[in-house]
Amino acid sequence: MKKLLFAIVLLAFITRGGLDRAEIENLSLRLIVGIDLDDDGNLVFSASNPIFDKESKIKEEEFVTRADTLWDSRAKSDRTFMGLAVSGKIQEFLIGKRVMEHANWFRLMDPLFREPKNSVRARMIMVDGPVEDVIRHKPEDKPRLPLYLTKLIDTAHRKNVTVRTMLLDFWNQDVEKGKTASVTELRKESRLMITGTALLDEKGKYRLSIGPEETMLLRMLQNERKGEFSFTFHALFEPDQPTITSDAYSFSIDKFSVKTKTGYADDRFRFHITIKMRATLGERLFPLDMPRETVKLQQDMAEQFEDRFGDLIRKIQQAQIDPIGLGLHARAREYRHWKQVQDHWGEALSTADIHVTVKVSIVNKGLID
């Protein structure tokens, strides 16, 4: 009994610890971290933290500072924040477009992977414009900014109008030779707007922006089948009407499958992508004898899809990037040829022969003809 008591007291004494104890009131949880360049080309870091205090009227604090690195900026922020700044709960990274226009900017993120306590689940966002404006934005009709941004991106991602790239996903896309990274693109006008997706090249340098509809097409090419895909097309077989468009129809894609055939001939890669879709018609503003002329509409959809996929792929090839991940197919199927070009895959892809075939079947036309 005495021995046991002694053991318990000893254990309690040794483990009273306190060294690693952190109380949440004494921490400043950085929920948003921004990185931007000022006009003189200095790195500017900003952070937004929630305040857990009854007496403060504003429930978040922001801090903007010049610093050399992320770690440095965190150390500097301790001079003004009430609590110790920690990076374990970062929800969003706002990266200025000016930063992304430099190669290898992603190396700034090093501490987030090095320290085990840091979160790798922050959403990566490119801001078209000054990052500081976004961080200081306080809309009155919205919840606090970190929550608002999180919701905004998650919803947009579900609608597939932008990609949602977590920090670890970004790392994965960055090191992958057969795929280039893509992140959410955000702009602040009078309110925050998601403008689509920013595409980066092999070195992480910003190359190209695509809009919401092109993002949906990109997601389909990437074979990412989650979320919703809805489109509005203008029927090619109907005459153009400029004021009230009566040649328009809309539909959503319930299900689709992507098959990629990879080959190599005449010193270039060849990809034949076949996409089969099942569509549900949402609206149709022109008369059509539906059961009989369904095929006509299906063909119209397929034709327009092929055009749009073709345009997107041409853009991507011109920019010498591969956000689709065709490089993965090239490596898996044509390993020997892939090995020769793996370090400049974007260039190799730009000369590749990529062909997309689309087959649409309308499985549901709705309640009226």
Binding site: I14, V175, R331
Partner: protein
């Protein structure tokens, strides 16, 4: 287990999973040969067996080998675990405190006999099997294309990877000590194969998940791919799956630690002619805590010793069972030739 996928990728790229299968084959063979020898002396413990085979003095001298090996394994397990805990949970706590906290339950298990160890391992198996579900979400997000083409650079890197990760399968050598305590010796081989196959399945599962989730160009840069992968799994109610998994995994580490520490202390106590291994075990764990006080365990040290263990295992698993078997067989032949 946490570092295994990274190491495999480092040597053999995404063909690393083949290395695991090769290792499994080798370990099963090696265990089978060990059992063939042990079957001839079903009731002798390792110290007795060595004395029986090699005579009193040579036997005692040879005992130093398993003592050193198992002591190293036990210490290495504890020290590496303390590094993990320090890194992931308690960065400011001194390592000797962590070592002490690990040594207490370690001693409590080791002081018991083999049957308690068996029960403990069984319990931990059922308690920790749920963990196999944790990385299931990334499995759905992975790109199976990463695994193609199979055998992309020929067999050399695969063999190389198999050699360097053989220590992941080490542990079957404890049958040298636990065999006499088995109640149903007929099923020893079945148990051995089953245990190895479970290990194989779990390793394959973990490795393939990491391989299809992480880009093949980057995975070798990660120290603990599995933990980082689990960092990216989040629920609304739980953000840090990795910490939870690592904490739960501590139990599994004890199932490797306990038999090794028991093997070392038991053999040492017999060498010194003591009837009981408990006192030695207490000294052993105290010594581990004390070394933590003097030399702080570091990654570099851990890696250096791991390389030594890899070398030891490379001799132990393929060659020692065969040498032992050939020796025993030779002795029998000699005896047959000069029957009284």
């Amino acid at each position: 287990m946490f570092t295994l996928p990274g190491k495999l990728a480092d040597h053999a790229g995404t063909d690393g999973w083949i290395c695991i299968v090769l290792d499994w084959l080798l370990v099963c063979l090696s265990g089978w040969i060990m059992l063939l020898t042990l079957r001839k002396y079903p009731s002798l413990t390792l110290p007795e067996l060595l004395e029986q085979l090699f005579g009193r003095w040579l036997g005692k001298l040879l005992m130093l080998l398993p003592i050193g090996y198992f002591m190293l394994i036990g210490w290495f397990n504890l020290a590496t675990t303390s590094i993990y805990i320090k890194n992931w949970f308690l960065p400011k706590t001194p390592p000797c405190v962590i070592l002490f906290l690990l040594a207490v339950p370690g001693y409590m298990i080791v002081r018991q006999g083999p049957s308690i160890h068996g029960r403990f391992c069984e319990l931990v198996f059922y308690m920790s099997i749920f963990m196999i579900l944790l990385p299931i979400m990334p499995l759905a997000q992975g790109h199976w294309l990463h695994l193609l083409p199979v055998v992309k650079e020929g067999w050399r890197p695969i063999l190389d990877g198999a050699v360097h990760t053989l220590n992941a399968f080490a542990g079957i050598e404890i049958i040298l000590l636990y065999y006499p305590s088995l109640q149903k010796k007929r099923y020893a081989l079945h148990g051995l194969l089953a245990a190895n196959t479970i290990t194989l399945i779990i390793y394959l599962y973990v490795t393939i998940i990491c391989f299809i989730y992480f880009s093949p160009d980057g995975i070798a840069r990660l120290d603990q791919p599995l933990l980082i992968l689990m960092k990216n799994v989040g629920f609304r109610f739980l953000e840090r799956l990795d910490s939870l998994a690592l904490a739960a995994y501590l139990l599994v580490i004890f199932t490797a630690l306990a038999p090794a520490a028991y093997s070392a202390t038991f053999t040492l106590s017999r060498l010194l002619g003591m009837p009981d291994h408990r006192r030695i075990a207490a000294w052993y764990f105290s010594a581990i805590v004390a070394t933590g006080l003097i030399v702080q365990p570091t990654w570099k040290m851990s890696l250096w010793w791991e390389q030594r263990i890899v070398n030891a295992v490379l001799v132990l698993l393929p060659f020692v069972p065969i040498a032992l078997y050939v020796y025993v067989w030779g002795m029998e032949q000699v005896r047959k030739r000069r029957p009284g």
